[in-house]
């Protein structure tokens, strides 16, 4: 099994290249999904805030007079 992984004197170069590929893809994946979640959370929080505000306003209108 182990000799499958052995690239002789090219070990560093072959596995280095594969590592570069995976690290780059993984970094891209993490940054993509983090940004996507971030913006969704932001918009949802904003929507909630607006709903609360309008609800408050309605409550104030009901109690004040």
């Amino acid at each position: 099994m182990m000799e499958l992984f052995d690239m002789g004197k090219y070990n560093f170069y072959v596995w280095g290249s594969v590592a570069v590929f995976f690290i780059a893809m993984l970094a891209d994946y993490i940054s993509v999904s983090r940004k996507h979640k971030q913006i969704k959370r932001l918009i949802k929080a904003k929507g909630k805030r607006q709903r609360n505000q309008s609800a408050n306003r309605r409550n104030n209108r009901d109690t004040n007079p």
């Binding site: 170069y13 072959v14 891209d28 993509v32 996507h36 969704k40």
Partner: protein, 260 residues
Amino acid sequence: MNRLLKFYHELGSPPSFYRITSHWLKPMLILAIVFTVYGLIDGLFFAPEDYQQGDSYRIIFVHVPAAWMSMFIYAIVGVSGIMAFVWRMKVAEAVMMASAPIGAIFTAITLLTGMLWGKPMWGTYWDWDARMTSELILLFLYIGVLGIYSAYDEDPRKAARLAALVAIIGLINLPIIRYSVYWWTSIHQGSSVSLMGESGIKDWDMLRPLLVMALATKFYYIYSMLNRAQTHLLKTEQNKNWVKKALIEVKTDVQPGAGS
């Protein structure tokens, strides 16, 4: 034909683009992972050894797909740049700005893996050979598109239009740059060891993992691009009704399921 046209127009509007592509994200990611796993296992372990380059040729299974993607994505950036500039399509802006980062990443991968291949083949990590040099200049083109978009932060739509202009200028110049660089190396140096050309991959057992990896990078590109494009649209359209609706609908979809 009519159906295709309708589909095209649907994709042109941000709400339906968002709705349609939401279903594509997961399949694309899964396909990318499956193809990568299969392609790399096949390429690294089972493809026969190259009689000239030994095991070191196995670098092509990541290097060449990345190189193909780096150029393919720039073409997409340029074409969607034209669409964004001429027709002011919001989706084209999103696709352009979503493609540029992943294209730059593929370009960087190409350069780094090329260097790792150069060391055993040429005896040096960097050689000013035509492909490496034009790939490096391609990276500058990507950085230019990304740079002007991020520098102009007051108005994202204006920024996207300026970035589109930069992309179009780059697209026109790319053939000239490539030609001049190839011409320059042909004069100043003898032809260097070519990573792909000379050894010539003819063996199907070598070609198969290469093609599988090429598909894998395409699928990953589609995933990454669509995801970024959605983020871009949500961000630029966050005050529009469809965004609120889309995000709240997700919630109502979940609630009955959770209740029952």
